[in-house]
């Protein structure tokens, strides 16, 4: 294992500390329990947005703390959801009296720990509502299982719900916007290589030189199946197909197309994937009106990418375009 780290046990704390030092204009880092909140503190009268989960997906979530997006982020250990206590403290720090929205990725651990934190917060009279992001079409959506995972769509939920909160929507309205995004966003990913969790010290799965994992998550877990290495166009087709099938887009509908890097894939390759995805959507009469390309939710140094499509309407488009000022996403401010 080759990493720019010191003691594997301290990676998260040292990294989050550095993040705080690098962005004093945007965030404050609370070291014990560990969470990141806006430099200015809670905004009175505004719905507070809190997200969190295992570390290793940077810039998610701390990179999205700031005006127009999150009020606080809670980084757990690598790929491991945080315990209730820091979530609870972050929730209090984000509360401006108008209630707090928890944006939770659909993993059992995340759901359970945010649940407990919400109960603790409610006990201190902070109104908490939760939305659970589950955009990964690689996983079957069923009542009898843990359901679909939350992956890249989370970034879009945070941005758009964040804009709704920033313009003054009340808690119900922010929840409704978040649910609208969740209901209209789907993703699927591929891994060319595995990643290595620092305290594990070895790659999270084995892949031969001519194999790739299709339907990968963001925690180094294996995907749905291995396939032979293929050209980017073919891989893009395989990711996009189930996404489009699930979304059932009608001719002429507008979408946001998001090509996300898993951390170890060059930006040039992400734009190359975007190029082909765009051709496919154009040929199907789907109008791509907004785009996002880059490493926005990662799996450490994993090589790979995911494709996310969000069905847009004028409300979502307007909220997407709204100003945002965070370490990892900045526009119009």
């Amino acid at each position: 294992m080759k990493k720019l780290i010191n003691d594997p046990q301290n990676v998260v704390t040292e990294s989050v500390r550095g993040f705080g030092l690098a962005h004093p204009d945007l965030v404050r880092v609370n070291e014990d329990p560990l969470f990141v909140s806006r430099a200015g503190g809670a905004v009175q009268g505004k719905v507070g947005l809190v997200s969190g989960g295992g570390s290793g997906h940077e810039p998610l979530h701390a990179g999205y703390v700031g005006v127009g997006m999150l009020d606080a982020a809670v980084p757990g250990a690598m790929f491991t959801s945080p315990t209730p206590e820091p979530i609870f403290e972050a929730t209090k720090a984000a509360d401006g009296g108008a209630g707090v929205l928890h944006i939770v990725k659909n993993y059992t651990g995340d759901v359970l720990n945010f649940e407990t934190a919400a109960e603790l917060a409610e006990a201190e009279d902070v109104t908490v509502r939760s939305v659970v992001v589950n955009d990964d079409v690689a996983v079957e959506d069923s009542l009898y299982t843990a359901g679909r995972r939350g992956v890249a769509g989370t970034v879009l939920v945070e941005k758009i719900a964040g804009a709704a909160a920033e313009r003054g929507d009340d808690l119900d309205a922010v929840v409704a916007v978040a649910e609208q995004v969740i209901g209209n966003v789907r993703s699927m990913g591929v891994a060319l290589t595995a990643c290595t969790v620092p305290h594990a010290g070895k790659p999270s799965f084995d892949l031969a030189d001519d194999e790739i994992e299709i339907g990968i998550g963001i925690h180094g877990e294996p995907g749905r199946h291995k396939i032979a290495m293929a050209g980017a166009d073919e891989i893009t087709d395989r990711l996009l197909e189930p996404v489009l099938e699930d979304l059932k887009l009608a001719d002429g509908e507008q979408v946001l197309l998001f090509v996300n890097g898993m951390g170890g894939t060059p930006l040039s390759e992400l734009y190359l994937v975007y190029n082909h995805a765009r051709d496919v959507l154009d040929s199907r009469g789907v109008e791509v009106t907004r785009s996002l390309v880059g490493n926005y939710i990662t799996s450490l140094e994993m090589q790979g990418a995911s494709i996310t499509v969000l069905r847009l309407d004028s409300t979502l488009t307007e909220l997407w375009d709204a100003p945002v000022n965070t370490a990892a996403l900045r526009r119009g401010v």
Partner: protein, 215 residues
Amino acid sequence: MSNEAVSVRNGTTRLESVVRLIAQTCVDNEKYFSDLDAVAGDGDFGYSLARGFENVLSEWDAYDRSDLGTFLQKVATSMSGRIGGTSGPIWGTAFLRAALVLKGKQTLASTDAVEMLRAAIAGIKKRGGADVGDKTLLDALVPLCESVAVDVERDLDAKVIVANAARVARDAAEDTARLEARRGRASYTGERSIGSPDPGAIAVAVLAERIAGEW
């Protein structure tokens, strides 16, 4: 059926030594448990348990021991406060529910042990929404509990009871390899989870074997 109460000292000692053994075994097996989780999960299971039980060991001497329930509740709190992921809430609930059974008690009867296991199982099911057959630790813990219940009913010697429990847990845990995961992170891999056992179930077997071995 033996309701013969163990003395406070003995009871505390037995409960304490079992809890301590659980904690130490989880710390010792960090790598092994994580490796199991890496097969179809995300490889943090051992890390999480180790960090949680490390904390139990480091706070050990300071626990309030005014009654058995209070002691076990403190253990649950200091453990689950450090375990993130699924295992924090699941193991935390299990210990907390077991602690409630012992609330106010100074002695521990064999029947208490059965009740503790049942309460833990009910708590885990409620918290995580899983049941037997979903390929979780329940698939080892439920058969283990049944074995203990039957043996306590038969009034067998404690040493025999734990030995039987360990054997049953091991067999059941290995058997989870045949199952497709329907809960937890391993479920995302679908059929690929078949062929390797559930880390949580294996952990239950390892702990039961260690307890039986040290009885």
